[in-house]
Structure formats: C-alpha cells, structure tokens
Symmetry: C2
Subunit: 400 residues, 2 copies
C-alpha cells in the first residue's frame, strides 16, 4: 500500500499535467487546469508532502519570486514498457520521466503464439527490474504495444491478421499476475502516436504516424488525443486498395498497399530482381545469405543499385498514394513515418512526399509536413511508457 493508491481526483490531474508538460510551475498548473492559485498551491503542497512530486531547479521568470519546476518524484516508482513487433520484442524499465533505466531487445516470432512470446516477455521484465535494483512492488504501471487491432478496454487483440493465435487472448490478465500495477495494451502504432504527442507536449492536435514494417499501420491523433475508432481498429490502413489489378493479399482482396509495399513485398521483389539477373549486388546477397531482407535492399540502394532504387521508389510511391487519400480525408498538420522502413533512407521519404503532393488537394498539403518519426525506433517503447503512466493516473483519479 503506497500513497499512490490514495490519490484524490485533483491530485491525479496535477500529476498527469506535470507528466505531460515534462515539468511545470505552480502557476502553469493552475492555468492549465483552470484552478485558482490557492487550490493549485494546496494540491501541490500535499503531493510534495506525500513524496509524489519534487521541486527541481528554477524556471526563467519575468520578475518576482522565481517559480520552481515541479516534476514527478524520481523515487515514485518505475514503469515497464514492452513493444511487440511481428519479429521482435523490446522491453524497458523507465523512470517516471521516461528515462530508460534498463532495456533489452531480441528477435521473436509472434506466430509462435502468446504462450511462448509472453512468457519470454515476463521473464525479461523480471530480469530487467532486477538489473536496475527494483522490485515488482515498485512498478507503477505496465504498457504493451502489439502489432494488430486491440480491444483497449479488455487488453486483448481482436482478429489480428498477422497473429491469428492471439485473437481474444487476454494479454492484460496474463501479465498482471506478477504485479499489483495495472497493465494496458494498445496497438503498436497508436503507441508511436502517443509517444510523439508526449514528445510534442500536445502542441500538435492533429497528426498521423505511419508505421511500415511487416505490415502497414497508422496512428491517428485528433483533437489532441489518440483516436482508436468505434471498435479499436482505426488506422488499419494496410488493406487500403492502391491497385485494383494488383496481387491478391492474404486478406482476400486485390492490391492492398501492405501486400505491395511493406517489408515482405520489397524483399520479394528484390529476390525476383536477383533471380532475373537485374542486380549483381542483390544476387550476391541472395547467394551469401539465402534470403534478401528489406535492409539488404536499403544497403544495395545506398551503393547505387538501380534495381534496389526502383523497388524503394515504387514502395514509397504506393504508400504515398494511400497516404494522399488519408491526407485529403483527415487534413493533418504532420505525417510522421516510422518502423523498420526509416532505415531505408531518404529515397523512400522523397517518393512518399512526391506521391502525396501530387495526389492531395492543394489546401491539405499547403502546410503539410511529412518526415520520419523524430523518436525513431524508440517511439514504441516511449509510447508504452506514456500509456502506462497516463492510464494508471486516470484509473487512480477515477477511483478516488
């Protein structure tokens, strides 16, 4: 039993605001929460007393007494974040300000099913906690990202095309056996969007995050919040048609952007080019490794390989074509592109941009900014940490 368990609604709101603003003065808190100065001071005093907040240094001021910066107390506890990809798993222990205290990444195959994958995640969580000298009781909240549509309220995947064995398995119930802290599960690209929203301190209310890896997904931020849709499947853009005469996708339809432009499609096209004698570099790679990965295509492109360049440009162009429709519909201020694809480099990004600007309306692209996710490969884990703390505070505040 910690003071953490007895948060009043106002206290949870103040902690949430401090977390999202990455440090705030009493005055800024009162302003953001529409509290009187007296009320803000009194809630803050209580939180300082309980050791949930601490004061660190001084902020700039225009005169008078300099306001101290309030932060979540460094001894408040830790967060566990996990980012499950189709072929990898990342687990981290984070401080309340999302500094990474311990981190481990390794290959994993979601197709081996929830039992195998999650028991490994569980072991990694224990191991990393021990590594930074923390106990399960010090964990405040746990956040987990998965590559498929999530029933957020129940913490489970629903009809996940890339990992059918996980359908309806309660990840939340499985993981919370070891911890008193609550477990929250969300789609991986929603977490990337949440991470960028946190990095930006909510300064951009309407943007998209596109993840290109084994699949293609989109995180949507609308009115300053991550938008999950009526059934939690918002942003499921991988099966949008970009060519009515394209190849058949595993979903049954023709010409889905995922079937034509995600990692596996690039690797397949590169293998074809190698076998057809169109690229000495790719052929050499195929011979040496028995397989060509999207990263091999990137490397070949960087060495000026024409076939590799074509493959990357085509993929960027198709993704841009799908994105053009989303930009017309949603009119975001920014599109951030992430996932393994970011390592494929500037040629890819240029093709995406060209395709979007060609097909979207002038008004939606006049101020549109398309770039790689600034948090890069950390976005998923940071988002898991944000989810863990944000939702835990919401729960504590609501229970008050």
């Amino acid at each position: 039993m910690t003071p953490w368990d007895h948060l009043a609604t106002h206290e949870a709101a103040v902690l949430q605001t401090v977390f999202w603003s990455a440090g705030a003065s009493r005055l800024a808190l009162a302003d953001q929460l529409a509290y009187s100065k007296t009320k803000a001071n009194s809630v803050v005093a209580g939180l300082l007393d309980q050791g949930l907040l601490e004061e660190t240094g001084l902020q700039g001021s225009t005169g008078g007494r300099r306001p101290e910066t309030l932060q979540l107390h460094r001894d408040l506890g830790v967060l566990i974040g996990a980012d499950l990809g189709a072929t990898s798993v990342d687990v981290a222990i984070m401080a309340p300000d999302l500094r990474v205290l311990a981190h481990h990444a390794e290959a994993a195959d979601v197709l081996s099913g929830p039992g195998v994958v999650l028991s490994r995640v569980r072991a990694l969580m224990r191991q990393l906690l021990a590594q930074c000298g923390k106990t399960p009781a010090q964990v405040m909240g746990i956040g987990l990202g998965v590559p498929g549509p999530v029933d957020f309220a129940h913490g489970m995947l629903v009809n996940p095309p890339l990992m059918p064995q996980w359908d309806g398995f309660s990840i939340r119930d499985y993981l919370r056996e070891d911890y008193a802290a609550p477990v929250f599960v969300d789609n991986d690209v929603n977490l990337m969007a949440l991470a960028e929203l946190w990095r930006l301190k909510r300064s951009l209310p309407n943007f998209l995050v596109i993840k290109v890896g084994t699949g293609i997904g989109c995180g949507i931020v609308c009115h300053g919040e991550v938008y999950r849709g009526a059934n939690g499947s918002a942003g499921d853009v991988g099966h949008i048609c970009v060519d009515a005469h394209g190849p058949r996708c595993h979903c049954g339809n023709l010409g889905c952007v995922e079937a034509m432009a995600a990692g596996p499609a690039m690797a397949r096209r590169a293998t074809e080019a190698a076998l057809a004698g169109e690229s000495a570099l790719l052929a050499e790679c195929l011979q040496n490794n028995g397989v060509i990965t999207p990263l091999d295509v990137a490397q070949a492109s960087r060495q000026g390989d024409t076939a590799a360049n074509h493959i990357i440009q085509d993929a960027g162009s198709l993704i841009g074509q799908m994105l053009a429709s989303m930009v017309n519909f949603f009119n975001p201020s920014h599109v951030f592109i992430g996932g393994g694809i970011t390592r494929i480099g500037p040629l890819f990004l240029a093709s995406v941009r060209q395709s979007v600007y060609k097909r979207s309306l002038a008004l939606s692209t006049r101020h549109l900014d398309i770039q790689f996710t600034p948090l890069a490969e950390k976005a998923g884990l940071v988002g898991a940490g944000v989810l863990a703390l944000q939702e835990t505070l919401k729960q504590r505040g609501a229970a008050a």
Copy 2:
C-alpha cells in the same frame, strides 16, 4: 442591449447544455456540468429570472418532487440558417429549439459569384424575418453552410474548387452588416454532421456524413465534436482516386471519385446511354428536356430501366470503394449518406454497402451501420441553426 449580452461563463455553459440535450432537468444539468446541486440551482434561477430559460411540463421521475424540464425561452430570439449549395439556396428562420418558423428555397448558381448570391441571401433573410414578425435585433446568431473548404476562424472559403470566385471573400463580414448578431460560416457537410450530432444528442461520438451532389464531401465527427482538420479541409474526399486509369478531373488528377460518381458524372453517363440508344426512357427524357439530370436517372431506374440501374449501381460502387478506405482508416460506428443522391433510392444505398463490406476489414464493418441521413434534406439548415446557437453561446461565454 439584451440580458443575452451579459452572460456569465456558467450561464452560457448551462444554456449550451440545455440546447444540446433538447430540454434538461436541474439534476441532469448538475450531473453533466459537474456542478453541485446548489450551484446548478442558483445559475438556473438567474437564467429563469432573466427570461433566458423557461420551465415546461414535468419529466418522469422515480419518486420525490418531479423535476421540471428546462428549455431555452421561446422568446429568447431567433436564429437564421442558410444552406448554400452549388445550385440552390435555402434560408430559414428558426426558434431556439430549431423549429422552423419560416423557410424559403430556390435555385441559385454559386458560379455567379458572392456579390449576386449573397445579396439574394440577404434579401431572403430580411423577407423571412418580416414574414414571421421578427426584427433584426431579435436575431441571436446566423449560421451559413457553403459547398467548399472554409477557414472557420475567418468565415471565408479557401481555394474552393466548385466556386473559385469566392476564394478569400469574407461572407461573415458581408452578412453581419445588417445584424448585431454574430455570423458563422462552415462547410455544408460539416453542418450536416453537426446537425446529426445534435439530433443524436451526442450519443454517437465517431461517425461520418457523406454528401453526394454536384461534388462529394465528408463530415467527420470525432470524440463527439465536428473535426475540421489542420486547415479546415478535412473530409475533402471528392478527389480521392478510385481508378488510376479513370477520366481526368477538373483538379488535374485521374479517376477522382467525384469526377466518376457525383451527380454530373451520372447525368453525363445517362446522356451517353441515351445517345447510344441503350435506353428508350433516357432518350425520351433527353428529347423532351434537352438535358438529363441525376433525378431523371433515378426516375428511369424506378421504372426498371437497365441502363439507369447500371449507372446508379456503378456510382454507388465507386463511392463505396472510396468509403471502404475511409472506414478502414477511421473505423466509424455509422456512415450517414445525404445530399441530392438520397432521392436516388435503395439501389444506390445497396451498392454502396456491398462495396464497403467487400473492401473493408471485418473488424471495422462488424458493427458498421450505413444509412441515409435521418434529417435528410433538412440536415444542412438544422446544422446552420446548431452552428449559430452553439458558436454564439461559446462567444458570449468566453467574453464574460
């Protein structure tokens, strides 16, 4: 100078809540606004005293004193709503509960420019006000819908493809010359979405409204609010590509859904069918009237004309194909279809549905409801009324 000009923030909030709930008890108000009962009672008493609220009848109750239903006072004033289409103009005077007190609709051509069209709108407003015995001083707020992307903050169209002469013309400044009341301008389909949101008393937080007429547009409701996008062009779906090898659109791209499936495209295809001798009915219509309209196609379809049926089914199918991508992306609970097209009937709706269910992911369509807009052709005007009252109250409340 009316009491209306001196609203306190809490008073504006109570009036807003009463308006959106179409009548509410003091208890329900306290609950929705998170006020104490004492505070709710005192604000309501003040508003009753000022003649801004009135009590009407009794609500059902589970025991104790029966709570009265509060409504905006019927003598509060009137709202003016106007719905400008590409080829028509609708003006109405409405009571605070959006009952229509006077209404006039006539043909108009937006291409004749803002000077001609708006001076007619201005005359109609004066005329209709007089008709129901009201003066300009009794007007609380004015709402206007236009068929193009709107800079909402400045009340003007920006880069409107259907009405280039209106670019940057301040409709707001022009119309407010006659009235002390504020003028608000929004895209026509955003107003249809706002109208449905009001009809539903905000019970559906995430849905789309598609308008098919001379153009094709989409209104987006997200997190219980109309979403306008970063530059006010959200929902501009008419130029989404549905056939990379389709005809060239006036926007310069190939195969835009608007160029292939909106009213003019249907009329063009019907004319071709008539000239090619594929339909005796359509040929007769062309001969008699010199032109075929989308409504003629509908009529021919109802009489079992095969060519007309094909045209309607193809249009529904193409719109459904575009909509399938939006459904994958946005995962709405409902899609409401409106505009002139609703009069084309069930064959059109069936084709849209079939196309969406075929191309969208199972999870996004599992509970998806696609139907014609329940408010039908009144949606635009009702939305203009909602906009007028909602934004006026926001402004009064903020100025307090």
